[in-house]
């Protein structure tokens, strides 16, 4: 037993020495996905590598479990802790279950941040949201207004009456409405995030408001159904469908002209920003505290709120110029 302990301790000391000498040269930043093989996270990894190339002394370890389970993510994080990486940036499968493991990572001097899908405050130093409710609310009305220089009637196709996210976004949109003179929101209807109900509600809108110029659907189900309904009614070019959607599902409607543009977060930027923030924190160039401003390279800076959360940017706008590039990603 004594000899074994000695060998183990010697090995531990030796590895500790190797580890510290290695980390003095490059910062090893782990980007942990919800699961491997998902386009969104592969794109984020692309952004992370872009940031690493810019920063120079950064090595990206892109990893994640096979399934979107908290247990799988914990195994991955345990092995990252064992490798003594400098920073872990995780999109969590579970807000709470990762906390004990990530706490241990922080105890061992590893910088821990979450991005996209957050971890409870005690399990990370900061969380990077892709966007914020006010930014989203502003973006969805701006997308409609940009194509209506003379103003006009627009309608909102939401999810359910109780969908928290959509309600907040519409509320934020209403707040900034005076900034867009000439734009009248004539109705808000609810498609319950069901393709067929959203389709019927859109048909209703088209009949009730013949002068309708745009439909804003801040839901990925609604926006596709609305674009289809507009196409089927032969109103492509008259009524512009916009809102929040997924490039892969919207590519056809952007090409047909049913949707001039729509928005959603850009996973490449998200991976880039998460890497940048992790680097800034791990190299002590910034500190995660309420009110702190942390650089995100080409994207700008993020300001942390009282929960050490920050929003990256406006949702990214997708139109005919970039839809092909992103529709293969997510």
């Amino acid at each position: 037993m004594g000899i074994l302990t000695k060998i183990m301790t010697t090995a531990a000391v030796a590895t500790a020495l190797i580890a510290t000498s290695a980390s003095a040269e490059t910062k090893r930043i782990a980007i942990v996905a919800k699961a491997l093989g998902i386009g969104f996270f592969e794109a984020a990894a692309k952004g992370a590598n872009e940031a690493a190339a810019e920063l120079g002394d950064v090595e990206i370890i892109y990893t994640g479990p096979t399934d979107t389970t908290a247990e799988g993510q914990i195994e991955v994080i345990n092995s990252l802790i064992a490798q003594r990486v400098d920073a872990i940036a995780v999109s969590a499968n579970d807000t709470d279950a990762l906390v004990p493991t990530l706490k241990r990572a922080m105890d061992r001097g590893i910088t821990v941040i979450s991005w996209d899908s957050g971890v409870a405050p005690e399990g990370r130093q900061m969380h990077l949201n892709p966007s914020s409710n006010p930014l989203i609310g502003n973006t969805i009305i701006k997308l409609a207004a940009d194509h209506l220089p003379e103003g006009g009637d627009v309608a909102v196709l939401s999810a359910t009456t109780t969908s928290t996210n959509q309600n907040i976004w519409i509320e934020e949109m209403t707040k900034v409405l005076p900034d867009y003179p000439g734009i009248n929101v004539v109705a808000t209807v609810y498609g319950d995030d069901l393709a067929d109900k959203s389709y019927r509600e859109t048909q209703g809108l088209l009949q009730t408001y013949p002068d309708l110029k745009a439909i804003i659907a801040p839901t990925s189900v609604g926006i596709v159904a609305a674009a289809q309904a507009v196409t089927d009614a032969g109103k492509v070019g008259e009524v512009n469908v916009t809102g929040l959607g997924l490039p892969s599902e919207m590519a056809g409607h952007v090409k047909s002209g049913a949707s001039q543009s729509f928005a959603i977060w850009n996973p490449i930027d998200l991976g880039y920003a998460a890497t940048y923030i992790a680097y800034e924190l791990a190299s002590d160039k910034a500190e995660a505290a309420p009110g702190a401003e942390i650089s995100m390279g080409r994207i700008g800076t993020v300001t942390l709120d009282d929960n050490n959360e920050g929003a990256m940017s406006d949702p990214f706008t997708y139109d005919a110029s970039n839809i092909d590039e992103f529709s293969s990603i997510f």
Partner: protein
Amino acid sequence: MSVTSEEPRGRQIPDRLTSPLRKALSSWELLLFGVAVAIFIANSFASPWFLDPWNLSDASFNFTEKALIAFAMAMLIIAGDIDLSVASIIALTSTMMGLAMMAGAPMPVLVLVGLVTGLVCGAFNGLLVAGFGLPSIVVTIGTMSLFRGISYIVLGDGAFTGYPASFAYFGQGYVWWVITFELFLFALFAVIFGVLLHKTSFGRAVYAIGNNATAARFSGIRVNRIRFILFLQTGLMSGIAAICLTSRLGSTRPSIATGFELEVVTMVVLGGVSILGGSGSIPGVVIAALVMGLVTFGLGLLNVPGIVMSIIIGALLIGVIALPRLWSMWRR
């Protein structure tokens, strides 16, 4: 199991037959042990971080909870049954403990709730299989959906958090130095189940049932009663695993332990337990648990993607199972 000290007998007629099955089994464990040692050595060379007691201690969480269930599952499979609902028992047990926690129950009550829920789930499976004579695979596929379904009804997309600090000991505490409480449980139950299966008449009856349940019944073994107990035992071990896992995660979600059942069965089969029943040993399962833990941790250190990792585990399983067969075919 016991060391045979016979001298080479040449063409003498032995006074006691050593079954070829027994021989194959003992060589199986040896083979598996060889694999474990090889993986250990390969890992130490492949990554400078492998041979660190704390890292190895962290890595033990990769298999301890699953191994606790695997011990009971091994006995169940040896007796010719299977329980695919174990991961769902964990989900339901964890949910029940969460409900108790929300009601303000202190730590000892939480543990009691965990153990009782596991036992009740096991009893339900056992009743359907041993009491009503339904096939175990059908029953437990059903209860797999049933138990987890109840968790989903209770929790939806929510979670229970805020377990008392003393409850964290089961999944995060250390007994001594790097020995976690879970690792201690693993060793303790390895011994308990080893003795139970290999040194008691109950264990012999389990083998007898797995080899020929009808013959076992005619020999005076209360077959259904033993099968019921085996399900009860599997439920209890799932309950214990649920306590550990919930404590380690510090929270409960209905998706907890998803996919554990297949990993447990993999562990058991890798340990040399015949999926058709009748043969296998606890030491085999112990080594298989270590092998799986070492492989996943070692590959994790090299940042091998999880998809590649499952391919390697699959190849290992087929390899270790096929090798002795091929060997005996070649010898023939």
